[in-house]
């Protein structure tokens, strides 16, 4: 009899049933089984179950004492939902990017953008050559400043990506 209760205890412990409640159930069961035995009722008759672990698990489960473990089924379901969301988002973003590209740069010049070189510090005639070599149209403005004949400012800034054939403004020092 106590062996049955002892196995129940172990099962409750394994299932994470709080100690106090497990002890309460064990005591209740032990007293009842002892009294039943005195009445000539065996444990099997009384419990209708010969497997203590199964009995313990059912009881604790029905009492709502078995902590909710992450159900494999549930987490798998969540995984598929997240995957589907990521795929849908990916498709939407990809499609938007395609539409954006089709309606902007590509359709006006038919060529990909080109980066603007660093012109500042370069002599004026070299800057002009550099601009043309990069498919850009140089517009030179002479401004007060030093060094003379050297680019002291540019627009757009170096590294900016612009369409081929765009104009770059080069401010060249007048000294």
């Amino acid at each position: 009899m106590t062996a049955f209760v002892e196995e129940c205890r172990q099962e409750w412990k394994r299932l994470g049933v709080p100690n106090l409640l497990a002890e309460e159930m064990a005591t209740e069961l032990e007293s009842d089984l002892a009294e039943a035995e005195a009445d000539g009722v065996s444990a099997a008759e009384m419990l209708g179950e010969s497997d203590p672990r199964r009995f313990a698990a059912t009881w604790a489960g029905e009492r709502g004492l078995v902590s909710e473990r992450p159900q494999p089924g549930r987490s798998r379901k969540r995984f598929w939902i997240v995957l589907a969301a990521v795929l849908v988002l990916g498709f939407v973003l990809g499609f938007s990017a395609l539409v954006f590209l089709a309606t902007t740069g590509a359709h006006t010049t038919g060529a990909p953008p080109t980066p603007v070189p660093l012109f500042v510090g370069v002599k004026k005639h070299q800057a002009v050559v550099l601009a043309r070599a990069n498919s850009l149209d140089p517009a030179v403005i002479r401004v007060p400043g030093r060094p003379r004949g050297v680019v002291i400012a540019q627009a757009p800034a170096a590294g900016a990506r612009v369409r081929r054939g765009s104009t770059v403004l080069l401010r060249v020092g007048r000294g």
Partner: protein, 119 residues
């Protein structure tokens, strides 16, 4: 073989109303687990072979249909006593009404069969 089949039918039928029977025996006076089994037996309902009453009691407790308290039993160790809570009483009233409805409907269908078998 036939006996086993009939026992299993009995179990199946009892399963739907055993919780009502448990509530009924603690309606007027609280009882501990084994005492409830005894009260059922005294009223002619044997729960032997019907599975344990404890999981059922656990469910009633979780659902708040029974209240529990600890008290000393007659000369024995302190026991956990169960009694029907107000919502347990309501559930019992509704359950008994449903049981009577079902019993009446099933009897109406099966009454003629009973006569034929008896002949």
């Amino acid at each position: 073989m036939r006996r086993m089949a009939s026992e299993s039918r009995r179990s199946q039928m009892l399963r739907g109303v055993l919780d009502l029977c448990l509530l009924a025996v603690v309606l007027d006076e609280p009882a501990y687990g084994y005492e409830m089994t005894r009260r059922l037996r005294e009223r002619g309902l044997s729960t032997v072979g019907e599975g344990s009453i404890y999981p059922l009691l656990g469910r009633l407790e979780r659902d708040g249909l029974v209240a529990t308290h600890r008290a000393a039993s007659d000369g024995g160790p302190p026991r956990k006593y169960y009694s029907a809570s107000p919502s347990g009483r309501r559930a019992l009233t509704e359950g008994v009404r449903a049981w009577h409805d079902v019993r009446g409907e099933v009897d109406a269908v099966l009454a003629t069969i009973e006569g034929e078998v008896a002949r």
